[in-house]
């Protein structure tokens, strides 16, 4: 810990305020109940499933809510299909900015 980090430790209140403002904007917009990200996730998986068999264990979904933009990251491991030259699996990554009516 250096001197700078000692200084930084001080003002945790602004961090608290910013976190609350972002969270409450989301919750007031009915976040959680009518979750656009949840719908997108299901539909994206559905589309991929039409073409390849997906192992549910090999799907990673991450979301990050921001003040203006939220992101949904869906990482699906697609099993190797013949024509792939080298070993390992291919990964498809879909990053989506999700719009919310409240912002």
């Amino acid at each position: 810990m250096n001197l700078l980090s000692l200084f930084k430790r001080r003002g945790s209140a602004p961090v608290a305020r910013d976190r609350l403002q972002i969270l409450l904007a989301y919750e007031r917009s009915g976040g959680g109940s009518s979750d656009l990200l949840l719908v997108l996730r299901e539909e994206i998986l559905e589309v991929v499933r039409r073409h390849v068999e997906i192992d549910p264990e090999r799907v990673a979904v991450r979301t990050d809510r921001g003040a203006k933009v939220s992101t949904l990251e869906v990482e699906i491991e697609v099993p190797n299909i013949v024509r792939v030259p080298s070993g390992g699996s291919r990964k498809k990554r879909v990053g989506l900015p999700a719009h919310r009516s409240a912002y």
Binding site: R10, G11, S12, A13, P14, A16, R17, R19, L20, Q21, L23, L24, E27, R28
Partner: protein, 271 residues
């Protein structure tokens, strides 16, 4: 007709019961006829904070179920004859609290008292929703801390949706009571400031109760802080809040402890 006020917060442990006791006593000290009602079925505590735990014979549920008449269940305060308490039941059956039952008791209390102050349980389920159901006004008790502010925001949303007034398209008066506030820490940026909380919750402020040893002392003794140590900082904050409830225009301050003799001698604040 008396006014029904719910003291609520969503989060537990922020000072609902303490504030109910202190505000109820303060209003009675100003000559108002007050009843404080414990809605926390199964976990009643208002009786203990008021020092009336050994005087409970009948409770809220007994009245709803017709086992006792309302006047039999009301406990008159021994120190303040204008103050009465309706204790909650210690039974585990929370379903015993019915909407019709609560309505009938609250309607009767409204006729008997100037103020009916309902101490809500924590949470957002049946108990808390029934406690706020028939309220004309709500006091939202909030600590300057993230989880408390978030839950207060949630409760404000529920007040605007699930009260009888809201359903009729009328307004439930909302007041924010900030408790356990530490001005020094807020000034150092270590605690959410009053403005932070007001900006986030956009609800008018009823009062600022500073963090104080007097609050625990009062509950240890079973006496509301406004009665037990009326000159202390939290008591003065509650008196000011009570005046604002009565419609007086009182300047908003954060009361501080007056230095005692030793404090004066050494030029320090006696905390």
């Amino acid at each position: 007709m008396g006014k029904v006020v719910v003291v609520t917060s969503g989060k537990g442990g922020v000072g609902k019961t303490t504030s109910t006791a202190a505000l109820g006593a303060a209003l009675a000290q100003f000559g108002q006829n007050v009843v404080i009602v414990d809605f926390d079925v199964g976990l009643r505590n208002l009786d203990l904070v008021m020092g009336a735990e050994r005087r409970v014979v009948y409770d809220f549920i007994n009245v709803i179920q017709g086992v006792a008449k309302l006047p039999q269940a009301l406990i008159r305060d021994k120190r303040l004859d204008k103050l009465a308490l309706l204790p909650a039941s210690q039974t585990r059956d929370k379903d015993a609290l019915t909407e019709e039952g609560v309505l009938s008791v609250v309607t009767s209390l409204r006729k008997m008292f100037d103020w009916v102050i309902c101490d809500s349980p924590a949470g957002i389920e049946r108990g808390p929703t029934l406690a706020m159901r028939f309220a004309d006004a709500a006091i939202i008790v909030t600590n300057p801390e993230v989880s408390s502010v978030r839950d207060s925001d949630r409760i404000i949303g529920i007040l605007d949706a699930k009260t009888v007034r809201a359903e009729r398209g009328e307004r439930v008066e909302k007041h924010l009571l900030l408790t356990r506030y530490d001005q020094a820490r807020a000034a150092r940026g270590e605690m959410l400031s009053i403005n932070d909380v007001l900006e986030i919750l956009s609800t008018p402020l009823l009062g600022i109760v500073p963090e104080s040893e007097e609050v625990l002392r009062a509950s240890n003794l079973g006496s509301p802080v406004t009665f037990n140590s009326p000159g202390s900082a939290p008591a003065r904050a509650y008196f000011d809040a009570a005046r604002r409830l009565l419609g007086e225009d009182v300047e908003m301050t954060i009361p501080t402890e007056k230095p005692g003799l030793l404090g004066k001698l050494f030029g320090r604040r006696a905390a």
